[in-house]
């Protein structure tokens, strides 16, 4: 597709429940990124992929967060046993592997996770 598609737009979970978010990157983009935005400001980098391989996961909370980008499937970000502080908007972005636009990231509209 021509834009990064994230689903669902809004996800509500009770504390302790699992949350799974999906992202379809722009066709032809090899790199996928996940970011967390809390309280409409600070963006926190979580993880990046180069195709289906994890490139950088230094921002991922070790215990409850996991992510995958499998061939022919949307990428996913999964949070096991959600906590109140996981409430945030999660953004996915993708970028192309080469050329002038290599470092430009294209963002989806985000998934708002509300943990109650």
């Amino acid at each position: 597709g021509e834009e990064v598609a994230q689903t669902p737009k809004h996800l509500v979970r009770g504390e302790g429940q699992k949350a799974k978010l999906y992202c379809a990157p722009i066709k032809g983009h090899s790199y996928v990124f996940w970011y967390q935005q809390v309280l409409k400001n600070e963006f926190k980098f979580l993880i990046s992929f180069q195709n289906e391989n994890v490139f950088d996961e230094t921002g991922m909370p070790k215990e409850r967060f996991s992510a995958k980008c499998l061939p022919n499937s949307p990428c996913s970000l999964e949070i096991q046993a959600t906590k109140l502080e996981d409430s945030a908007v999660y953004f996915c972005a993708s970028s192309q592997p080469s050329g002038r636009g290599k470092n430009i990231q294209y963002f989806g509209a985000g998934t708002r996770l509300s943990v109650l």
Binding site: V4, S30, Y31, F33, Y35, K40, N41, E42, F43, F45, L46, I47, S48, F49, Q50, F55, D56, T58, G59, F91, A93, S95, Q96, P97, S98, K102, N103, I104, Q105, Y106, F107, G108, A109, G110
Partner: protein, 114 residues
């Protein structure tokens, strides 16, 4: 710790005036980018400036980069109501690889008064 810090946090100006936002960062970078976020939406890329560039223009946007001071500024000329949004600077690590995660500042919320 936050890599980028925008200044000011909020800015309100009249339509037609120029808006200037500043950003400081802490580590060596390959490039610095500015993004815009409209309320409730994702980020939209505005402009990228590489570490060996000092100034760049794109339409009504002008970006400067001073690597010795680790700072950048974004100037929007002849502002319009549609420019109302939050603006974020973001830096990519020195490696410059395409899969480098961006480190964002806290953003400047710009309001253009009609």
């Amino acid at each position: 710790s936050q890599q980028g810090e925008e200044d000011p946090q909020a800015l309100s100006i009249q339509e037609g005036e120029n808006a200037t936002m500043n950003c400081s960062y802490k580590t060596s970078i390959n490039n610095l980018q500015w993004y815009r976020q409209n309320s409730g939406r994702g980020l939209v890329h505005l402009i990228l400036i590489r570490s060996n560039e000092r100034e760049k223009h794109s339409g009504r946007l002008r970006v400067t980069l001073d690597t010795s001071k680790k700072s950048s500024s974004l100037l929007i000329t002849a502002s319009r109501a549609a420019d109302t949004a939050s603006y974020f600077c973001a830096t990519a690590a020195r490696s410059g690889g395409g899969a480098d995660g961006l480190t964002f500042g806290k953003g400047t919320h710009l309001i253009i008064q009609p």
